[in-house]
Point group: C2
Chain length 113, copies 2
């Protein structure tokens, strides 16, 4: 298993599904900010993990996993995250969708063993 998979506890826990279309602008700050957000999120109480991928056409999906709704709310309020989010809405994306979901069950290919 590669490092790209989140190592999560057993459900229930929460998922924040963020799908986004980058605009065509090659903002050099974007990659740095994205990496910084992952590092910041990992310091938040209740952060469980994240999986993220973006294709060549600029469409991407990031799913972050959280222990509960309170952890998601605290992350939303985190000041640097809030500022980066506001900047990103204006500068990085043509469109995005965000969905908050409660994970009820899960399994992986390792569970075949």
């Amino acid at each position: 298993m590669t490092a790209r998979f989140a190592r999560l506890p057993s459900p229930p826990y929460y998922a924040v599904i963020f799908s986004s279309q980058r605009n065509g602008e090659d903002d050099p700050g974007y990659g740095q900010a994205a990496q910084r957000m992952v590092e910041l999120a990992a310091q938040q109480p209740g952060f469980l993990g994240v999986e993220s991928v973006r294709g060549d056409d600029g469409f991407g999906i990031t799913v972050s996993y959280w222990a509960d709704e309170a952890a998601i709310a605290a992350w939303k309020r985190q000041a640097e995250h809030a500022a980066t989010r506001a900047y990103g809405r204006e500068h990085w994306y043509d469109h995005f969708e965000l969905r908050v979901a409660k994970v009820e069950r899960a399994y992986g290919s390792k569970s075949r063993a």
Copy 2:
């Protein structure tokens, strides 16, 4: 907004989050089967939409959206899907994780207007 975003009703609904790492094998059947599965899923009762992306390193996330748990269960039982899934487990992926979640709230960048 591009066609890559699912157009979904208001929550609640369900999300099936499938993250996977393709093996390095260039199975010509993979792309065809993946496309076929999207077409088949779209014919299932309760199918709401799908968003999917795979990066250059073979890591991908596909999130399919469903009206309820019964719709997910019916899709899992669909015969061609079940056969393709069994084939894929053996031939296409180094690893995958599947999480079933109930979407409780959602918003998109259009909702700023």
